[in-house]
């Protein structure tokens, strides 16, 4: 993940390469551009040492376990619960440069940690986390790079949180709407500590171009 300039415009790039026989066989780029209706804050992206720090010697989950934990994040979103996902109490999420969980300067939801957000049950309007892939697992550093779609079918206009309060689903999420995301998880001691995501809106139902469309 990095920031690139296209004709002078800063953009956020998430790039995946597959190397076979020391030759590049797959190139998958997700580019979050600020123009054309997208949102991106590349200027806010800074180095976070935690993403390149190796895990402690006694913290060595298998790659299957790392993928399972990453997948539990999407399961929790779909099922609108914090019970399925092992979150670190300080889990922070950054999306396109914006801190959207555990942001001390944020308002409302953004102030909550990842787990607190999931506990509210806010997410039923994300009706499907589709075409989940986990192409990169960095076991040494406890990182999993997932590429997925969030589909919002537009069928839900109101969400009842776990505390019983009603919350209106705001546009565009009450109409057919999808995000393509490259989402990187830092997992330490079996818990999700950091989430760094690059996302952009795409036509609802769009396939990724890799693997089979669901």
């Amino acid at each position: 993940m990095g920031v690139v300039n296209e004709n002078g415009h800063p953009q956020i790039l998430a790039l995946r390469l597959k190397i076979e026989n020391r030759k590049i066989s797959e190139m998958e780029a997700i580019v979050a551009r600020s123009g054309g209706g997208g949102f991106a804050r590349p200027q806010d992206l800074v180095d976070k040492p935690i993403f390149h720090e190796p895990l402690a010697a006694d913290d060595h989950p298998s790659r299957e376990e790392l993928v399972r934990i990453a997948n539990s994040y999407f399961e929790g979103l779909e099922k609108a619960t914090g019970k399925l996902t092992p979150f670190d109490p300080q889990c922070t999420r950054i999306e396109n440069g914006a801190v959207t969980a555990n942001n001390p300067d944020g308002k409302g939801m953004a102030k909550m940690t990842c787990g607190e957000q999931f506990d509210t049950g806010f997410s039923p309007f994300i009706t499907h986390v589709r075409e989940r892939r986990y192409p990169i697992v960095d076991e040494e550093r406890g990182l999993v790079y997932s590429i997925i779609f969030f589909d919002h079918a537009g069928t839900i206009t109101n969400v009842k949180w776990t505390d019983g309060t009603d919350h209106k689903v705001s546009p565009p999420f009450d109409t057919p709407y999808a995000f393509l995301l490259g989402e990187l998880f830092k997992i330490k001691n079996g818990k999700i500590m950091r989430v760094e995501a690059v996302l952009l809106n795409v036509p609802y139902g769009m396939p990724s171009g890799w693997g089979k469309k669901e």
Binding site: E6, N7, H9, Q11, M27, V31, R33, G35, G36, G37, G38, A153, G154, T155, T157, P171, P172, D174, T175, P176, Y177, L200, N201, V202, P203, Y204, G205, M206, P207, K213
Partner: protein
């Protein structure tokens, strides 16, 4: 955005021109029959019940280029119909088109719809939707869409042209865009274009000089070179009686050029987002009278750069190099 886009609306080199062949099917579903299928479809959409639609066995549905199941996409929210309704019909090809306003959960949407009706059994085999939502990232003014009688007026015999000629004329529009010239395209001097409910050429009230120009005058400037390619051109509905052609295309802006040179030699910056890889999925309806493009009504929505628009069913393989 509006002015930028206007300053953009042109195209260059077409890799593949698909002219949907009007199969020599018997026109056993005439205009009222075809329009009846549109009404039936819209009624089912409002009822959120596709079960009674007469669907062919291998019917396909796409929404903004994506293949979906009926029941998904626009079939999810509560839909109500608006007042703007424009039908066009091609009995020879068994195809019918519709532009109209609707609401999804109360949010205004401009709908472009294409249906293909199997002539033999009068079943719907193709459903293609362009949904222009307010959250798409480009301007849209669905409330400005009003009935324009010219789009449903029949041409006089001398004003008519054969379907192949109508398609050729529509295609010259895209050829002219790509080449940045008005020399390829027969424009009526009063040609006006409306995109997403916004008048983007021949608008005498506009403050933008280029928006005040007619289509032909705009093309003559050469500004359309901003659009580097008009790809995946299809012309599925040809309404010969009314001189209408529905084209469905993708405008690609490769982002390679930071400036373009107009026909008068002046340099003009390519403004964002068109100086970055950027595409529009477009349903564009041409009214051609006496062989000249008189009116254009277009629905335009941004999509990922180079996105396959969904028809035919299988995308040809692309080579990386």
């Amino acid at each position: 955005m509006k002015n930028v886009w206007i300053a953009v609306a042109a195209l260059s080199l077409s890799l593949s021109v698909w002219i949907t062949a009007a199969q020599a099917a018997e026109p056993n579903c005439d205009r009222p029959c075809l329009e009846g299928f549109v009404d039936q479809y819209l009624a089912a959409l409002v009822a959120q019940d596709s079960s009674k639609l007469p669907l062919a066995k291998n019917a396909r549905y796409t929404e903004n280029g994506q293949e979906l199941k009926l029941g998904d996409g626009m079939w999810g929210p509560t839909v109500t119909l608006g007042t703007f309704k424009l039908y066009f019909a091609d009995p020879q090809a068994g195809q019918v088109g519709f532009f109209g306003t609707i609401e999804e959960h109360g949010h205004p949407v401009i709908l472009g719809l294409r249906l293909k009706i199997d002539g033999s059994n009068k079943k719907i085999s193709e459903i293609e939707v362009v949904a222009l939502r307010k959250t798409s990232g480009v301007f849209s003014e669905p409330q400005n869409l009003v009935d324009k009688p010219i789009f449903h007026q029949a041409l006089t015999p001398s004003e008519r042209r054969p379907r192949a000629e109508l398609i050729r004329v529509a295609n010259t529009y895209f050829e002219g865009m790509e080449a940045g010239t008005d020399k390829n395209t027969p424009f009526d001097k009063d040609c006006q274009r409306i995109e997403n409910g916004v008048i983007t050429s021949n608008d005498p009230t506009s403050k933008s000089p280029i928006t005040r120009m007619s289509c032909g005058a705009q093309f003559a400037t050469g500004f359309t070179k901003v659009i580097t390619r008009v790809q995946e051109r299809r012309f599925p509905v040809v309404d010969e009686e009314r001189g209408l052609v529905l084209s469905i295309v993708r405008f690609d802006h490769s982002g390679k050029n930071k400036t373009i040179t107009w026909a008068d030699g002046t340099e003009h910056p390519v403004n964002p987002p068109f100086d970055q890889p950027y595409s529009f999925f477009i349903a564009e309806l041409f009214k051609t009278v006496d062989g000249k493009i008189n009116r254009i009504e277009a629905l335009v929505t941004p999509v990922p750069y180079g996105m396959w628009t969904g028809w035919p069913a299988h995308e040809p393989a692309k080579k990386v190099i």
